[in-house]
Symmetry: C2
Subunit: 440 residues, 2 copies
């Protein structure tokens, strides 16, 4: 029945020589999507057919809009839009869980091609939705769910298809990158930088979504699902936030040749994948070290590929709308030419636990400033087979900061080191422990 | 006949459940293309069918190869490969004019889909070839012709299709960017940096191709053809090389907050387009200012799009092969599903002459170091209605360097200024004149 519905929808569309969209959501992205789809010149030139927005689901039909939308198109009933026989393509730009999730499921069940910019639903249930779309032979496109207007999903899936991507290293959250950029550049504390970000309207409604890395983890889940053809979701991504990074960490990092970024990292390790979001020291000449302010950047590496970086502002209504409409154009071209959709088939992959992931670590300790202390500290590292690559020691009166960067070490060994250090009388505090991203 | 041939070829392919490629060229790119296409797992997963390399045209069939190629596949007869009934898709990675150009024309005339990485032919005759492919309903893909493994053509044509791109600002030549990076970083002269680039094997066989901007101009022609759907070729691109840039220009540029890059710039100005390759001062925080060494980067701006940057190493056999094979995969998917190809329809555009292009200019003059000289120099600018934004003056004994950056001025006014300055007794030399790229 699904396939019948789909071919019926396609047949009708081709006869009409035009396609109609059911738009779910008319916020900043939805408004811009409406405006672009209504530009008949642009659509005919790019999609080959005019595209009509036939129905729009909104929460408040009587709200004053910045774009002229006929009141008759509006309804509060999301499923009515999805199910309308007049709707060929469903475009979901509401965001959030429900009713978006239910609408996407219903559209796929009806065999209607779907475009969504819904990071949350794609990060949590992308593999399930893609499997359903694949089984039903319909399209599910989601370029707008990651990175705003930066093309990522499609270049990874198509242009780099032969590159055997084995690593993604990315800055995927504008707010935290703004905060860390200002801490690095101006010596601000985390709280000062956070309030500057808020003043600029960067922070999400729930700041924890940015600061604790949930936003970046969701985006990384989507990107690694696509890059590795794996059934990964946000639940598979290890996650750590940036609130504990201090101005002093930045000062020591700089002294050692690094800066600090909130990185989203996915690695294909043959038998397993790594997927993690955490603050990381990166060398000052790393391609991501200079990504400023609210910019996002995604570094892709493949076996046959040099490093490729995609960057830009990762958010905003108009750029995200360009990504969404790009997907609509793809679908329109495919419907017109009767192409079956080519949804990726995903396979399950084992995720490497963070404590078994090999990385260098930055450790910032406060010790009593007395002879022999450093030898005892170093002994703890030696016992756990964690070797030290560089050290900075700074006396601060009674106490001293000892800052070390280790060579690659498994997380569990560093945990062991930390437990032993905390047991030493000479160690007053472990100020911070931050992972280090090796140079590419 | 063309269409018949095409549908016959497509029909055969679908029946065979596999596609066969005629490969033209087996250099560094061709060898890697052969290797990737022969990876049946990869091809079945990405293209949906195995792909067989059926015939290969090479100049020297008996040369020892780094990859095991059955001798029976090799021939020196390019057209024989193109015309072979056993070849569904023609992949041209020979480079250069002939016989590549003739082979592409013949393949298109036969209605066979074509993938090429040929910068030269696409830059000089891209519009003609695309028109022929469009008329014949066949495919012409050329992702590998620009930027090695960095996805550019397809993201611009598809992902950003709704973004109404109005500007491309790019670093498209690795050799010159390496040279300029070293001049900026290490204070080297142009000749020192050039010989370092040669030692690293960067320079093209004909160094003028890099240094004089021919390579960048060819790539810019291809990108602006795609971004503006315009029948632009390399002949439409204004071009200036970097050989006259001195260490002193870099020192003054730095003092004024700039660095110097060889930029490839295309702008859609409604009634006209600008397309130009020349050295340019760019501000130190411009997204392209930090692109190091042999890296390429392409900044795309559109009406609905924030700045988006694509970057990576712009050359190399394996990355270029990934781009070529990505195109083969697209074509294979389309053939399998019987999709007619969607070749862009290009329109002619008027190109704005460089002397009518409004830009700020950097001028570096040598003047006699006497009172009143500066007033006379400034008077010349005032007479030509060219206003000055910033000035640095440095005494060097008898003479002084006067370095100025103007506000936006048309090229012809600056020409006028230069002629008048050269007539002044106090002006000993015009050391250099370099355009300035305004901040985005």
């Amino acid at each position: 029945m699904t396939l019948q519905n789909m071919s019926r929808a396609g047949g009708e569309s081709r006869r009409r020589e035009g396609l109609s969209v059911g738009l779910l959501g008319l916020g900043t992205v939805g408004t811009e999507v409406f405006r672009l789809l209504s530009d008949e010149d642009l659509m005919v030139r790019r999609a080959g057919v005019p595209i009509r927005v036939a129905r729009i689901a909104v929460a408040h039909p009587d709200r004053v809009r910045t774009v002229a939308v006929p009141r008759t198109l509006l309804t509060t009933d999301v499923l009515q839009v999805v199910e309308s026989p007049d709707v060929d393509i469903v475009v979901e730009v509401m965001g959030g869980d429900e009713p978006a999730r239910g609408a996407l499921l219903r559209a796929i069940a009806l065999g209607k091609p779907v475009v969504t910019a819904n990071k949350r639903v794609m990060a949590n249930e992308g593999p399930d939705l893609l499997a359903r779309a694949h089984a039903g032979g319909t399209a599910l496109h989601f370029e707008g769910s990651v990175g705003g207007g930066i093309p990522l999903i499609k270049p990874i899936q198509e242009s780099l298809a032969a590159g055997r991507i084995h690593a993604i290293t990315a800055i995927l959250n504008g707010t935290t990158n703004f905060i860390l950029t200002r801490m690095a550049r101006d010596g601000w504390s985390f709280d000062e930088a956070l309030s500057a970000a808020r003043q600029r309207g960067f922070a999400e409604s729930d700041p924890a979504d940015d600061i604790e890395g949930h936003d970046a983890a969701a985006k990384l889940a989507i990107l690694s699902m696509v890059a590795f053809d794996a059934t990964l979701t946000a639940r598979d991504v290890y996650r750590e936030g940036i609130a504990r990074i201090t101005a002093r960490d930045f000062a020591y990092a700089r002294e050692l040749g690094f800066t600090i970024k909130l990185l989203a990292i996915a690695r294909d390790r043959d038998d397993e994948v790594e997927a993690r979001v955490h603050p990381a020291l990166i060398q000052q000449d790393h391609p991501l070290a200079m990504v400023p302010d609210e910019y996002n950047a995604v570094l892709v590496e493949g076996r046959e590929l040099g490093p490729v970086v995609f960057s830009g502002r990762g958010a905003g209504g108009p750029p995200t709308a360009v990504a969404v409409v790009g997907d609509v154009i793809d679908i329109a071209r495919n419907i017109r030419s009767g192409v079956p959709e080519r949804t990726a088939v995903l396979a399950p992959r084992r995720v490497r636990p963070i404590d078994q992931t090999l990385l260098p670590f930055y450790l910032n300790l406060q010790v009593t400033d007395r002879p022999g202390v450093f030898a005892r500290v170093a002994g703890v590292f030696g016992d756990a087979q964690v070797s030290i690559a560089s050290i900075v020691q700074k006396s601060r009166g009674e106490v001293a900061d000892v800052v070390m960067v280790t060579h690659d070490a498994p997380g569990y060994s560093v945990q062991q080191v930390l437990e032993r250090l905390r047991g030493l009388e000479a160690v007053k505090a472990v100020n911070n422990v931050i992972r280090v991203e090796a140079k590419i």
